[in-house]
Amino acid sequence: MVTTDSPARTDRRPAATAPRVVKDSRGTTVFRAVNAAALVLIAAVTLYPFVNLVAQAFSSEGYINAGQVNLWPKGFNTTTFQVVMADPMFWRNYQNTVVYTVVATAIAMVLTTTFAYAISKHHLKGRSVFIGIAVFTMFFNGGLVPNYVLINELGLKNTLWAIVLPNAISVFNLLVMKSFFENFSTELEEAAEIDGLGTYGKLARIVLPLSKAVIATMVLFYAVSFWNSWFSAFLYMDRAELYPVTVYLRNLLAAATSLDAMGGGSGESTQIASNVKAVTMLLTVLPIICLYPFIQKYFVSGVMLGAVKQ
């Protein structure tokens, strides 16, 4: 597996040996300094929207509207948090997001694992057909309206299943798992077979317990994507108490912008306060921001895993 910072890269440029360095040291030093400074700037620009979000979440509305909140909260308060959290619909929708994410991830994992395991067996007759069935859907799909009609016809509207079932397998995740299973030790499976285990037994008792890394990665991939998704729910849910929190947030933003777009729209009573929007956004991303430092490396290695040629 290739990692982004493999040790190979340190000795990639043996220019660091003494005599050469003296010669081009000036240009190189300037180049390095400029490069490092540019990267710090890029990182700062990337982080700025989040810093601004936090600052607005803790500021009072007056300062935000006066255009005085950038990096640091002004008129520090936490009352907006109390207001947002006191909204029963917000909590209801937050809870929905958790439930949808857990159920969808569980189902997606079962389907992805079984399919990936089967198509990882090179001796399986018809294997390339099954792979083709999956991969073709990466390049062509039925489109918005036929999908919508189908979900309607199946009677999945306003149910959890409208969110879970149509997205139960991500072909990308499927191929990552397949490539992991392909690299799995065949000797171990053969030994298990001799000991009398069938396919199910091998999968459940040998392969899965030894695949915790890839399973954890896939769970993260699915969970983050279901946590972040909004469009299925927006399309197929008609009742506010069924929305996930992303749709709650979307409606908040839409209500604010439609007023904006109609020109003026600064009627204090109807305008949704900027700090309310900021707090809702912050609460929605909070789980991801908190977990991110710990889960990021799994995502990176997951993508790399998929990149390995079989």
Binding site: F31, V45, M138, G142, L144, P146, L150, A254, K309, Q310
Partner: protein, 354 residues
Amino acid sequence: MTVHDPLPVGQPAAGSPVAGSGPAAAAAIGLAAGGPGGPPRGPLDRAARRRAAGKVTWRQALRRDWQLYTLLVLPVVFFAVFRYLPMAGNVIAFRRFRPGGSIFGEEWVGLHYVQMFIADPAFWQVFRNTLALGALSLLIIFPLPVVLALMLNELRSRRFKRVIQTISYLPHFMSVVIVAGLVFQLTAVRGSVNQAITALGGEAVPFMQLAEWFRTIYIGSEIWQTVGWGTILYLAALTTIDPQLYEAARIDGANRWRQTWHVTLPGIRPTMVVLLILNIGTFMAVGFEKILLLYNPLLYPTADVISTYLYRVGILSSNFSYATAIGLFEALIGLTLILSANAISRRAVGTSLW
């Protein structure tokens, strides 16, 4: 934007958590991270296996592997129902659909709906907008991860590099709703961008009410969200370049810039080609979800693209057959683009997706 699923070609899948194209998709196809890779005993092994498998009849295969086949049942049902049935459902582009009737429509109307959108001036406006946003994405966003990866690759400090990478990946994990919210926040009349403009003596700009700003804002937010994550595969490809090549280049008198030009860039070329093909494949499918969240009627002249138009026509106005015809047209262009890009690159550079 979400993490899994590369952006499907053509139409936005109804409700699929569509993600950024690029690295994920390339990785999934198993062609990334340039250079001749793969385990050494691969091809021989596979040929041997294929010979072995070739002798087996279906009856024997089923008897031997029936347990494996049972594992395939549910996933295949999933693909049949939720992926291939909607593809077949595209026939309603040529049949009149009545709500409550068959999902395959009621009677044939031939190319009626195709003629309808060809004669529809609103369609041509969204078509132009789609091309403009697609072209801008390809020209501006595609090269940036290469540049960023090269910059990161020049860093000596491992820790510094890791910190910068961690920060640059972060936006990729944000929901598109959050990204839209951040865009609104920054471009608000009293938002940070306008504060900077007024501080420099300019007039505040109501960005989200002016159609001429939409493309800048859209591309800017795409850069913010996707470029860092896009560097992953390039960084992986960079580590596979043989250090001796640099040494040889230096002995030949190549300076830093020449080394980059003659060693580094050719080294990551296969990765670049694969990602370029995938990007071309998603040319028509410009950020449906993001645009849907960001736009408003004032921005339609530049922001309305095929997919958002067909959402309004199909879902909001319930012209199912008409919207399906538009969507099919869009998907076919996407498929044609990816097939031709693949064929061209196989002939010209020898790298292709399949």
